[in-house]
Symmetry: C2
Subunit: 449 residues, 2 copies
């Protein structure tokens, strides 16, 4: 039942004149009953304020507190699924447990140590010594936006290599930032040659070049070597999206001269979606330091974040309330990678991808990307055979086996591909086999050859 | 030991001409040893690409994988503290446990149900029926920035009422957004009268008025009634920050005609910092719908988020990867409030605040804000007595009792105040007493009267 409430704020009577509150609704009486006696009397406002707030109060005298929503009075229950889609992947139990450790304050020295661990872990996964290496407090899109708003000012030109959804996404961010997008476009599943990127550099003289290393919508992996050198030759920054691949395939930020690199917590790193690793090298920092205008976002200001993360010589300042529990989880996901060793992780992802390809081909399925060398080992795209309704297969796996595989992301390849992700903790031969078996069962039902 | 690695990407040889890889580093040999045989041979690139990537590879042949950071090879351990500062507060165990439930995908129907629960919970805490009610994927600053970038365009004027750090913060965001800041300023601990705000409205004709309901840096609570009506009279939107108070004191978004209201997960709602509830009424939505320019942030685009959260008539679109585990935790924090009942929560916060005032005054301490009616019951500011070094007291509580209380936020009141927070799960007479006892012990040591 909704109950009437006097609109009195914090026990102050806004309707009376320096007199104790006499006529109040039942709720306020109850509120005050357990308060110190002083709360019961009007405490004498300074005249102006009194005047100011007294008239408004009357109109709200009949405010009612609505009932608590029934849905929240039931316990939270979620099914346990095997997430073999393009992400998020299942975090290992130790990562989920880490996220439930006692909360620390975002300015506590013990939490700064955890931040330092995370920084070291990202440096390791990215293979960089960059001082400005940390995690954005948001999922992958936030890191993408952080890169855009910090590196580009109004009117700056970005050359976006688009061969899937991510080029389109960043193009939208660049445009919203008031910067100018020039696109190189290739069909989904193909990658860009240095030659065509050089052509774009010559033509558009961009401040920044964007490529997606591991395309989760198409399953491709863009070769990166030489690209950093090429961008330097044309005085452009190289920005790379590695959300759906970092930790699962060779990646050498420093050796490959990548200027800005970002990823996400919820793929190979095996933490829940919440934080997104990013790193800026000195070239990128110089560009930021020489901006003519302030970064448009406070929340994503790279220099402020660098200070908070202890990456400059100044004492750490409170910038925003960092996602403490999510950082614990990311730390634990990175620790798992550090224990396993990066090379071993790359090797396991490659091995499981090969297993998957082989199993799929045995069923008569075709990979969307013919050239194995440009496939992202973490996200495999499979051609949906003619006559098969892609969704029936996806639904069968989910309903019968609680296994997630995905269809296309976006409309371009809708109905044409499935996507299977093998990432982090989920990257085991057992999971590949479970997925293959479930898929075979579905195809036996829905693929009439 | 760092090991040499051939810079070969994904098993493709970038250095040879259509021949099997012969000369590779030990690591690549190991990588390939467990891969399918096909990974060992160069798979015949299209000529242009081959040319493009072959030259760059050589320069990286000696790339080495750095060693895993030693800090990550140690287990994560965090102390268990009682967080009686201005936030975050300790989440109840059930909230931390909810955050460790099995991960769902951000587009799974079961997760949409959790989002619906959260939406209903925020509507309840905010006392609103607004359709556009959801949580931003980031901590409080992200919600503040979301409000700014969605409501204001370049050149729009915002009237910022600043009586603590939050007015300053939003002013910076408004400025970064290319909008114009006009300020009403009051000393920390004071609040604004309707009269002076009306004066500001007349003078600056702002599109938006910002006030902080519960100021965590000063401990004040701004009376809100009548302010919404006043803003309507001058055709301005009313934006209210309720991060450090929502759930802990009466708040009626609809009845008080607040146009946009936001809060944070980590205070009274008792979830870890990660998500920030926000709500837009129809007036605010109309302003957004009538924008001449796109919202500058993709990540914080209110209309896109509304769609993802199922708040419009269209099917939910993938916008960004929502913070799944953090949403579980927020859901559980909101469920706790729903079970307790809002009025009971307000009552408990008021009761504990009164207990705290009384206990502090018994020790001879003075409240920073004399007028009890404009104190935020969730964050109490206490005057540091002359001759007492504020930090010694704070450190004593932490070192001897693992209890957090805080000094000032920012420089204005540095050394002049302590801040004690009583929020959500921590809002119990036991915690107030523990804090008072520890404080008394510290004062006995450091306050020589």
């Amino acid at each position: 039942m909704a109950r009437p409430l006097c609109a009195t704020i914090l026990g102050r009577c806004l309707q009376c004149n320096y007199t104790p509150v006499q006529v109040v609704s039942p709720l306020i009486s109850r509120l005050n009953a357990s308060s110190a006696p002083s709360a019961l009397s009007c405490i004498g406002l300074e005249k102006t304020q009194k005047m100011a707030f007294s008239s408004s109060a009357r109109s709200n005298t009949n405010s009612q507190v609505s009932e608590p929503p029934a849905c929240l009075l039931k316990p939270l229950e979620v099914p346990n699924k095997l997430l073999m889609g393009p992400g998020p992947s299942n975090p290992p139990p130790r990562v989920l447990a880490a996220g439930a450790l006692p909360l620390l304050g975002h300015m506590h020295p013990e939490f700064f140590e955890v931040l330092d661990d995370v920084k070291a872990g990202i440096q390791y996964v990215f293979q960089t010594k960059n001082e400005w290496t940390y995690a954005i407090s948001g999922s992958g899109h936030a890191a993408m936006e952080a890169a855009v708003v910090n590196l580009l000012e109004i009117g700056d030109v970005a050359l976006v290599c688009q061969n899937g959804i991510w080029g389109g996404r960043i193009a939208e961010m660049v445009d919203r930032n008031g910067s100018i997008v020039k696109k190189l476009v290739r069909p989904m599943g193909e990658v860009f040659s240095l030659e065509e990127i050089e052509q774009g550099l010559k033509e558009h003289k961009p401040k920044l070049v964007f490529v997606t290393y591991g395309e989760s919508s198409s399953g491709s992996a863009q070769p990166l070597e030489g690209l950093g050198d090429l961008c330097r030759k044309y005085d452009a920054l190289l920005l790379v999206d590695s959300v759906a691949i970092a930790g699962g395939a060779p990646l050498f930020m420093d050796a490959w001269n990548i200027d800005v690199l970002y990823s996400g917590s919820q793929k190979v790193m095996g933490a829940p979606p919440a934080t997104s690793p990013i790193s800026f090298n000195q070239r990128a920092r110089d560009v930021i330091a020489n901006r003519k205008t302030k970064v448009r976002s406070y929340y994503l200001d790279a220099a402020e974040l660098a200070n908070y993360w202890g990456c400059d010589e100044n004492p750490r300042r409170y910038h925003h309330t960092c996602l403490v529990s999510s950082i614990y989880a990311l730390r634990e996901g990175l620790a798992r990678l550090a224990e396993q060793g990066l090379e071993k992780s790359w090797q396991e992802h490659r091995k499981c991808a090969e297993m998957l390809y082989e199993g799929l081909e045995k069923m008569g399925l075709e990979m969307w990307i013919k050239d194995k060398a440009i496939r992202n080992p973490c996200v495999t795209t499979i051609r949906v055979p003619e006559g098969v309704e892609w969704k029936k297969v996806v639904d069968h796996l989910m309903k019968q086996h609680k296994i997630e595989i995905a269809g296309a992301l976006g409309k371009d390849l809708l109905g044409e591909i499935w996507r299977i992700g093998i990432m982090g903790h989920n990257c085991t031969p057992e999971n590949v086999n479970r997925t293959l078996q479930a898929l075979k069962e579905a195809l036996d039902l829905y693929w009439k050859k």
